[in-house]
Symmetry: C2
Subunit: 100 residues, 2 copies
DNA sequence: TTGCTCGGTTAGTGGCAACTTACCGTTCGT
DNA sequence: ACGAACGGTAAGTTGCCACTAACCGAGCAA
């Protein structure tokens, strides 16, 4: 998930799909400065983690961003946020007690 | 930001700081299966993007997760989410009109 | 069917980044 | 002041991954 978002090219693909709406692989290859096979490989990765969804229309595949992956990221972030605050509070309390 | 979160070892460091609370570099090196210099380098990266904060206490540096970076990630995610929905709605409306 | 376009797959290469080893500055205890 | 512990930095190596070139299958039009 975060591994998928770690690559700048994959983020550029997502950005293109976000701002321009769903489009085909060929169009993506025109807008993102890498070859078409590279686009395919990145779309495979993005699809595996649920960040992208595709729909066959004739010979061309239309890709769009998929909210499922974004939702997973959001819940992960919320959990991380809460736990970090909790752990920090615990740590403060613990060091307070050690000071006594 | 997302580049920093793209590395598994860095996520392990954050996970350790999250669950165990703030701790020193040496302790982190014990809990995460990499050498101490590697920990230092990763902490440098995490600190550069505001995901981690450190505080010198004697010779040892205590690191903890910093909410600033998490907040930035959250706002980015929220914006991305909204724009994706908007772009999708636009695309649906556009294809509807093309169908006529 | 034949030709054409679109796109996924494979093989191979190059570059980057994560890791370790060695070194050095800093700070505390004795 | 001396030694030890802690941690950041430099240099060097290795492994992985992003990329391209070449190939192949699938669907549409003539």
């Amino acid at each position: 998930m975060l591994d998928a978002l770690g690559d700048p090219t994959r983020r550029a693909i997502l950005e293109t799909l976000r701002t321009g709406g769903p489009c085909s692989v060929g169009v993506l290859a025109e807008r993102v400065p890498v070859s078409r096979p590279a686009i395919s490989q990145h779309l495979k990765v993005l699809g595996a983690v649920g960040l992208v969804q595709h729909e066959s229309r004739g010979t061309r595949n239309i890709y769009r961003v998929h909210q499922a992956g974004l939702g997973e990221l959001r819940s992960w972030l919320d959990q991380f946020w809460g736990d970090a605050l909790q752990a920090y509070a615990d740590h403060v309390r613990q060091t307070e007690e050690e000071r006594k």
